[in-house]
């Protein structure tokens, strides 16, 4: 365990960082907001952390925290700007925002180090810190997926008009989502910079958009767990795929394409589907011999069967 931990430190770190990055896209997506601003926030966080660490030698907490705050504010302002847009148009606007930041970093002169970027951002951040932060984030996100807040977000995604008529403040939910997405992206970017000690315009480009999207699409877009599955797969896939050598990228492309086209719910969706089927089978078995009558009645009434599946605790079985 210990040697495995030491020899795979880089992969373990990037698993958690790409998970946070993917979550910065997944959180808006769960509220039906198709925004790539989280990737731009990654760049903001990465550069803020690097600049503060190199110039002021501040503690990693301050360096990352400043980036998170800045990205949250930028996210809020961006949400105000693009409030009129939705769907693909919002996606395009936020993607150009993200890529514009990359060009800005290239032209930032001494502050951002131009095309070569910044080097020597040494800090005391360790893998344990990264894991701890990620776990806290995951707990908070998991909590936000439950209860009344989770249902409100679901309503905003599935039918914004209906949500408004039910008293959900759709505009506020959308703005919050931008802020959270910005904070998550900046956190990932800041931690990655401090762990790798460098940042350059190439490391915050379009490929991050592709990475984050593929993680949540293959894993499953509707929950943090999907992003976690995707992050593990796509961080560790390259080392498993070493036997295909130079065709690695090709395999990667095929996996993404197949997942996007034929498995829209992602691996998490497949797992949930399988779990549901298993449970349904398990529940039918005891009813078979004893009360064949009721079971037949339940079977012809799919509505009742569905209700029984949805609310297992309140159901009364003879």
């Amino acid at each position: 365990m210990n040697t495995w931990w030491l020899s795979n430190q880089i992969l373990i770190q990037s698993t958690f960082i790409s998970l946070l990055l993917a979550l910065s896209i997944q959180v808006p997506l769960r509220a039906g907001v198709f925004s790539f601003a989280g990737i731009g926030s990654y760049a903001i966080g990465a550069y803020t952390a690097a600049i503060l660490t190199i110039r002021a030698q501040v503690a990693p907490v301050v360096a990352i925290g400043a980036g998170v705050l800045l990205a949250a504010v930028v996210g809020y302002l961006l949400a105000l700007l693009v409030a009129r847009l939705s769907g693909l148009y919002l996606g395009m606007a936020t993607i150009s925002f993200t890529l514009f930041l990359g060009v800005l970093a290239t032209n930032g002169g001494d502050l951002t180090g131009g095309a070569t970027g910044l080097f020597g951002a040494l800090s005391t951040l360790t893998t344990e810190h990264v894991i701890a932060i990620t776990v806290v984030v995951l707990v908070l996100l998991a909590a936000s997926e439950r209860g009344s807040f989770g249902r409100r977000v679901d309503a905003v995604r599935e039918d914004p008009q209906l949500a408004v008529s039910l008293g959900v403040d759709v505009v506020r939910v959308r703005r919050r989502v931008f802020v959270v997405s910005g904070a998550l992206g900046a956190c990932a970017g800041g931690m990655n910079t401090l762990l790798r000690t460098t940042v350059s315009p190439e490391t915050v480009g379009f490929h991050l958009v592709v990475t984050a999207l593929t993680i949540i699409i293959v894993g499953g877009a509707m929950s943090w767990a999907g992003a976690a599955i995707g992050a593990v797969i796509f961080t560790w896939l390259p080392s498993i795929l070493q036997f295909v050598g130079e065709w690695q990228l090709l395999v990667y492309g095929i996996v993404v394409a197949i997942a996007a086209v034929y498995v829209p719910g992602g691996l998490l969706g497949l797992l949930q589907e399988g779990w549901r089927r298993m449970r349904r089978r398990g529940r039918r078995l005891p009813a078979e011999g004893a009360v064949a009558q009721t079971q037949a009645a339940a079977a012809v009434d799919p509505e009742k069967e569905l209700a029984a599946l949805a609310a297992p605790t309140t159901e009364v079985r003879p």
């Binding site: 939705s86 693909l88 395009m92 606007a93 130079e246 993404v256 394409a257 996007a260 829209p264």
Partner: protein
């Protein structure tokens, strides 16, 4: 000065050829194909591979690129976008899946080309066509520039006229406005979608081969850059409007050329992004867009 204008027009024409097919597919059948850049690159790349074996004249190379582009585009439509549109619960979900599917598919041709070329730029030195430049006194124009200008403006005019005047064009526009009602009126949505994707792919292939002739050689990665420029051109002009794409592509190329001539060029890539962002904020439908074509 005249030289800069001519260069900007040539660049704009290349953007136009590339963006035309994308805009057509997006504005009518609602498919925003992120693999368009890969089709563009791979068609040019296949022509390069063939030209290494047999020395072909330019028309044959163009024909080859057009065929490969159309075939790839139709294949992607049948294998990926049709199943997505058939299965997706609602329009918004389908849109997202089409984007992600396109991004995934785009990796495949890129990976193949990168593997074979080892990321070294490729050109058509094996073909028989040679670029020659004519000096007209005030401006120097090459034969390939003339081909690009004529092809881009001619095809844009042709497609614009076809959409406006021909019956299939009318049917295609009807799908763009409301695909369900159009189907009830007897429009064969599937066939028209295949036709649209074939035309879009053919235009991408044409643009790829012409760009390779124009620049001498292109890298496998150049498809991505063109994809983003095409978005800018389409958003600027308005989705689904042919006149809009023409103006958008020319304006983008013009602004880029002005910035490139007057600065050291490091800001040039930002222009496309800034144009997209500002246009979406000020006028999301683009200069020529109409409200009903907007898909949100």
């Amino acid at each position: 000065m005249a030289q800069d204008v001519l260069n900007a027009l040539t660049l704009g024409s290349l953007y136009l050829l590339f963006a035309l097919g994308m805009s057509l597919a997006w504005g009518t059948i609602g498919i925003l194909n992120f693999a368009h850049g890969s089709i563009f690159m791979f068609a040019a790349f296949t022509a390069h591979l063939v030209s290494e074996e047999v020395a072909l004249p330019m028309p044959a190379m163009i024909g080859l690129g057009v065929l490969i582009g159309a075939a790839m585009s139709v294949l992607i439509q049948v294998l990926a976008f049709e199943p997505i549109q058939r299965r997706a619960r609602d329009h918004r979900k389908a849109e997202l899946q089409i984007i992600v599917g396109g991004i995934g598919i785009a990796i495949i041709p890129l990976a193949i080309a990168q593997r074979i070329t080892k990321s070294v730029p490729f050109g058509y030195s094996g073909g028989t066509f040679r670029v020659t430049t004519y000096d007209l006194g005030f401006v120097r124009v090459s034969n390939i520039q003339l081909v690009i200008l004529v092809a881009a403006l001619g095809l844009a005019g042709l497609i614009g006229w076809w959409l406006r005047a021909a019956r299939p064009g009318l049917a295609l526009r009807a799908i763009g406005v409301d695909s369900e009602v159009a189907t009830m009126m007897g429009v064969d949505r599937r066939r028209l979608a295949l036709l649209t994707m074939a035309v879009a792919g053919a235009l991408a292939g044409l643009a790829g081969v012409l760009l390779t002739y124009y620049l001498g050689s292109i890298a496998p990665e150049s498809g991505d850059a063109f994809l983003l420029k095409a978005f800018a051109a389409i958003i600027l002009g308005g989705v689904g409007s042919i006149a809009g794409v023409v103006v958008g592509a020319m304006v983008l190329a013009g602004v880029e050329t002005v910035v490139l001539v007057n600065t050291d060029g490091s800001w040039t890539p930002a222009i496309a992004f800034a144009l997209i962002f500002l246009m979406l904020l000020v006028r999301p439908n683009g200069l020529f867009g109409r409200q009903e074509v907007r898909r949100t």
